[in-house]
Subunit: 265 residues, 2 copies
Amino acid sequence: MLTIGEFSKISHLTLKTLRYYDEIGLLKPAFIDAKNNYRYYTISQLETALLIARLKSYLFSLEEIKVILANWEDTELLNLKMKAKQENLAQQITFYSSLSKKLKHDLQLLEEEKNIMGYLDQIEIKLVDHITYHIVSQRKQINTADFLLHFNELFSKILFENLSPIAKPLAIFHSSEYEPENYDVEIAIPLAMATHKTKVFNPGLCAMATLIGSYDELPSIHTKLHVWIDEHNYQLNGAPFEVYQTDPYSTPEENHITEVYFPIK
Amino acid sequence: MLTIGEFSKISHLTLKTLRYYDEIGLLKPAFIDAKNNYRYYTISQLETALLIARLKSYLFSLEEIKVILANWEDTELLNLKMKAKQENLAQQITFYSSLSKKLKHDLQLLEEEKNIMGYLDQIEIKLVDHITYHIVSQRKQINTADFLLHFNELFSKILFENLSPIAKPLAIFHSSEYEPENYDVEIAIPLAMATHKTKVFNPGLCAMATLIGSYDELPSIHTKLHVWIDEHNYQLNGAPFEVYQTDPYSTPEENHITEVYFPIK
DNA sequence: GATTGACCCTCCCCTTACAGGAAGCATTAT
DNA sequence: ATAATGCTTCCTGTAAGGGGAGGGTCAATC
């Protein structure tokens, strides 16, 4: 039997960590002396400690590790979890890479003595009278992170019903508050003919800005339009919407073209 | 003037977030009504909000953003911070990549129905009688993360004093507890001749294991040796040490060769 | 037998960047 | 006048422990 201090030294886990693992039930000492609450560990628990350390190095959360240990015989589960983690890492890497690219771009702006928010001043805002569409649409409360999923749903519906769009898809933002977890959005596709499934979309006069580049900038475009409307003494007259001119799957991020419209009066 | 609700909607920051930014002094409302504590923001604060969102998307902490905003005119500072962040991202990417490689390796083991901790059973432990060295050394309390730095310090000292090593460098671990922030380590290099700067290093009988691969596995080797010593009824007889047979800079991680010695009796 | 120093215990607060919810005013719309 | 929002503060919780206080316990030494 090893005291917590000895076990800590051998396993290379701190005392704090060991007590914490005991607390959350991840690695409970083999024996606890009832009269003084001293923790005692066995030599064989060192293996578990090493395993935990290894899974931790793979960035599994302690909660995940607990599940994996509880089903240690189930190699299928471990396999699954590891593959998921692998996928996860790949996503992280692409995320960081694209971030790094953006940072590099902004650093270049800085070298040229430009403001990194300067792109905002470049955006031109136009007054347009939007034509009337017949749209099929789906309105839902969604998490902003699942935006694309929601799009696909409608797309496949359109395809399966043999309908043919006459203009690019759009998203209409009905939310009266900003809650990213619960965003009230209507995805729509304009069709050539009115049917019983379509409805009329007639935004009328709009302030419009075109964004070329990553969707990350969309919030600033919205803000910009809000400010513009305020400064020019117009008033919002309906839900803002975005028209996606490029396919988000096949187009590289920096070539995306998005039009943002704010109906006004 | 905008109420917090309006500002939230336009800036795409939640109410919670805005109140929090107020609390930590990152974005204080331009005006607070003293009689009901209502927060009011100006249109121009939207710019700040956008800037904060952008810096946040670059993974700066709110504390860092506060500093950047406070010195917004100082483009030099921003430049520096961004470069540091860039460097940071690059490190993350290499870290994740190497992790992904390790995961892939372990997944392969799993496919072959092997245990991912199996490598531990492969490690052979030998009894050796270590020869006596004359060493120059530096002993320090260091953070385990700064291990390599400490090495370099001694290396350059050796170089500048024109001493020539006769064997690979080693590290002796004196710590009696495990505290990764404050690790008592002695870095040493064996020299051919005894001088007034050298001391005798004579570990005697040792249990030894050789690790081929990433330094990540070192803790498990230590554990393994501890267990072995315990099981064979030996006793620790001095501080454990590691001999680095390969240059950590020029050797790829998976080819590192490290010998771990535990003096015993 | 007493003391000392090392070792162990529990309990509480701190970290990041908020989210969730309760309880209670204030404002606005009907 | 009433109801529905909108705003406020305050409390709790998150992941994985770190830092430290205050106090009990163990082994070795005097």
